[in-house]
């Protein structure tokens, strides 16, 4: 079983609501669900998409072909009709759409009328639509009923009943009318799964890591991380502050971290630009910091609600001067949850900045997840104990590892913690002489050794000694993996190398790449940044790169097509 439902309509028509209810129903019903969203930078009108794919196998990426289109606008049919599978169906309401189609695969459901008639309110059209889809699928109805009850619990029984009736009416309407429908739902899991997107996973990971402070300036697609944290601030004892700009956001986080708590900031490319000076400050003052960099297509404002992976080399080189940093690039919500926890540990252990790279595709896509273990990654604050604090405590003591003892200002009723953005001595005071400067540069850079030892090798998946190695990072993970499976099932001999941690650059990559006859990086950008990074770090030239830079995520089909083209 592997179906895709595409719900299309204008911003404000509630397609997200419908889609999300369906995603919940299917997840609870035991299907693996993957959701991706495609929306314009406007609040009303335009043409947005909520695409939902579900299967009995674990799925991690969108598919190009669609089995059901729920059309709330003509664009959904005109722009996406060709994505339908041969016996795919279109569900629409001729009254709201203002057009009737005479095509057996087009099912006209009077959703609005049903909502008004059975539910008592036009707004319940969304529930009617959800019901209608479930009817087409022949999916049990009870789960929707349960979800309606829980989500409208505060709204009172009237609303609940209305929605249930609206849903049921849609359900029964399609059950009766959908003769061409031939979907077979085969739920496998009895085990409950949860639906989670990348932003939620990052926020949950931060909470699990004991993050106590988050400051940020709103910026799509990063805002969701902060919004989620703000909702949980009370339960988890953390402060979330909306800063006046990104410069304030990173400096507040640095101030909080200096004062002794785990601190986070999150932004997208434009905001990250404004944070680069702060990044350099964190490097010099050796203040732990975690930054979520949720990419979107640039340059400048670009396509603010869409996806791209064009800031890898920027993140790697951002900030003036030279200092260590760490870059992670989780590929799924699950990886994101664990990555950011590790990020906080590294940030504090090595007193450095960890940049967790995300993008709109990772941020807004939903995965159904079986379970997350908040205890898998232990919190390690790596602070010194009270009894280690002496009167001549040196915040920037030079050590073999390059890591200095980190105390909290005022700790043990005596710690005096001094740090400086100027080059400084072990005490943290300004210096200008050559030898101290040299010692401090070397001390800071030495930390990279220790960090490297903990960096994960990229995930190698697929055939051994592949004829083709597809190399990716971050949110392309799912599409890449599925492309590899599909291509191999078509007799190819391919494998995937997915970087979930990019800097310090993992060891042994040259060998892996050389061992493949051909190697392509697969990236959501124009210039093949990972390909260039591999060359910079290993001297090895990949044979090519598959790129996409129109603001849309790479699909398995995109990759398969490119690979097949490359063969001809």
């Amino acid at each position: 079983m592997d179906y895709s439902i595409k719900i299309g309509g204008e911003a404000g028509q509630g397609i997200q609501t419908i889609g999300h209810v369906l995603a919940k129903v299917l997840t609870r019903g035991g299907s693996h669900v993957f959701v991706n969203q495609d929306y314009e930078s406007r609040i009303r009108g335009g043409h947005n998409i909520y695409q939902l794919r579900f299967s009995d196998r674990r799925i991690l990426s969108p598919s190009k072909k669609v089995d059901i289109i729920v059309a709330f606008d003509k664009a959904s049919i005109e722009e996406h009709g060709d994505e339908l599978t041969e016996n795919g169906m279109v569900l629409y309401d001729s009254e709201t759409l203002g057009k009737k189609y005479n095509n057996p695969l087009f099912l006209d459901v009077p959703m609005q009328a049903l909502a008004v008639e059975k539910g008592g309110n036009k707004v319940m059209m969304n529930t009617a639509a959800a019901g209608a889809v479930l009817g087409m699928l022949g999916h049990e109805f009870s789960i929707l009923e349960a979800i309606i009850k829980s989500s409208f619990s505060k709204k009172g029984s009237g609303i609940i009943e209305g929605n249930i009736n609206a849903g049921k009416s849609g359900y029964e309407y399609t059950r009766g009318k959908c003769h061409k429908c031939n979907f077979s739902i085969s739920p496998v899991k009895s085990k409950k799964m949860m639906l989670m997107n990348g932003n939620e996973a990052l926020a949950l990971g931060a909470l699990a890591a004991g993050c106590k402070f988050a400051s940020a300036y709103p910026m799509t697609p990063a805002t969701g991380v902060i919004t989620y944290l703000a909702g949980k601030a009370g339960d988890f004892d953390l402060v979330v502050e909306q800063a006046e700009d990104e410069i304030a956001a990173i400096n507040m986080a640095i101030g909080a971290s200096y004062a002794g708590v785990r601190a986070l900031t999150a932004t997208s490319g434009g905001g990250f630009c404004l944070m680069t000076e702060g990044l350099s400050l964190a490097g010099m003052t050796e203040t732990p910091l975690v930054i979520v960099l949720a990419q979107r297509p640039g340059p400048a404002t670009g396509l603010p609600t869409r996806t791209e992976q064009a800031e890898l080399l920027f993140a790697l080189n951002a900030g003036h001067g030279e200092f260590p940093r760490v870059i992670m690039s989780p590929g799924t919500a699950e990886e994101a949850f664990y990555s950011i926890q590790k990020a906080f540990n590294i940030a504090e252990k090595y007193q450095t900045t960890v940049i967790v790279m995300s993008d709109q595709h990772l941020a807004d896509s939903y995965w159904s997840i079986e379970s997350l273990d908040p205890r898998r990654i232990k919190v390690d604050r790596a602070m010194i104990n009270d009894d280690e604090i002496t009167d001549d405590y040196k915040r920037h003591k030079i050590t073999d590892s390059g890591v200095s003892p980190r105390a909290i200002p005022g700790q043990a009723g005596k710690a005096v913690v001094v740090t400086d953005s100027d080059e400084h001595d072990e005490d943290g005071h300004i210096i200008e002489d050559s030898s101290t400067r040299n010692a401090m540069v070397e001390k800071r850079m030495r930390k990279l050794k220790g960090i490297s030892s903990g960096i994960l090798k990229p995930e190698l998946y697929g055939k051994n000694d592949p004829e083709l190695l597809l190399i990716g990072w971050g949110s392309t993970y799912g599409a890449l993996k599925e492309a590899v499976d599909t291509l191999n099932s078509h007799g190819k001999h391919i494998s995937m190398l997915h970087f979930m941690e990019l800097w310090p650059f993992p060891e042994g990559i040259a060998e892996t790449v050389r061992s493949a006859k051909k190697s392509f990086t697969v990236e959501n950008n124009n210039t093949g940044q990972l390909r260039r990074l591999i060359r910079m770090e290993t001297g090895v030239e990949c044979s090519g790169s598959i790129t996409k830079y129109d603001g849309r995520p790479l699909t398995p089909e995109d990759i398969i097509k490119e690979v097949e083209n490359a063969d001809n």
Partner: protein, 272 residues
């Protein structure tokens, strides 16, 4: 009881006669008289001559970037609101590069104090105009004289209903010391704009220039009257008032964040 010696730091690299010496002096005395020990105090400074101040005493110090003292201080205060947090900035630092943070820190009203070493010039970078440089004054970078009209930190702060607004003069150390104590004691955001002669680059606003003009506000001035405060704020020329110009009792930012009622984050933070 902390003593002045507890606050002894490195030897200043300021020019002989620089107004910064007096501010350093006043600040140390203020802390001692407030009974604060070095480990209970955090000074966040920027880049500029003023930014070097914390190195010349001994206390928790975060000498950060040019213009960014207030967000760092705010973040530190939110993480540990038991620290006495004082930001030390220059006029270019706080009113130029960092102007936006000033506006929004006033809105936020965290219980921190900012001391602005206002020498009406960019000292460390050798004498360019600052936001408070008098119109018409010529510098290397403004050879024809400054065209912009000077920034008025006092009226700006009062216009946004800042918690505590004062002006001091480095030539009046005991008076300045008292102002700093009041500012630190005020529960909310306090700004003290300190007139500080730069003997090297500002040949207009000299020690005597200020001395001739500065007068202390007395009981006739009601710092809780916003309109009166604004009028005093606009007073700049023949006479320049120093003292507490405005104050109100807006609750401090931290006091309004429920999570912090359970104690400083840094404690709940320790466990992780």
């Amino acid at each position: 009881m902390p003593t002045i010696d507890n606050y002894t730091g490195q030897i200043p690299s300021w020019c002989p006669g620089c107004g910064n010496f007096s501010i350093l002096n006043a600040l140390k005395h203020a802390f001692v008289e407030l009974g604060l020990s070095p480990h209970q105090v955090l000074i966040v400074s920027g880049i500029g001559q003023s930014g070097k101040l914390p190195h010349y005493m001994r206390c928790n110090t975060f000498n950060g970037l040019h213009g960014r003292t207030l967000p760092v201080a705010t973040g530190a205060k939110l993480a540990n609101h038991e620290l006495a947090v004082v930001a030390v900035a220059g006029d270019g630092d706080c009113y130029g590069e960092g102007g936006n943070h000033l506006i929004h820190t006033i809105r936020r009203n965290p219980d921190i104090t900012v001391l602005v070493h206002n020498n009406q010039i960019y000292g460390l970078t050798k004498g360019q105009a600052s936001p408070t440089t008098e119109t018409g004054m010529a510098t290397k970078l403004q050879p024809g004289g400054v065209v912009l009209s000077p920034f008025n930190p006092v009226t700006l702060a009062v216009s946004q209903n800042a918690g505590f607004v004062a002006r001091g003069f480095s030539g009046e150390i005991p008076h300045l010391t008292e102002l700093i104590k009041e500012a630190v004691n005020h529960r909310g955001f306090s700004i003290v704009d300190i007139l500080q002669p730069c003997v090297t680059f500002n040949k207009l606003n000299t020690y005597s220039w200020y001395k001739e003009r500065v007068y202390k506000l007395d009981a006739n001035h009601n710092p809780e009257d916003m309109m009166q405060a604004l009028e005093k704020g606009f007073e700049w020329g023949e006479k320049i008032p120093v003292g507490i110009i405005y104050k109100n009792s807006r609750p401090a930012f931290e006091e309004q964040i429920s999570v912090l009622k359970r104690g400083p984050l840094v404690r709940s933070g320790m466990s992780g």
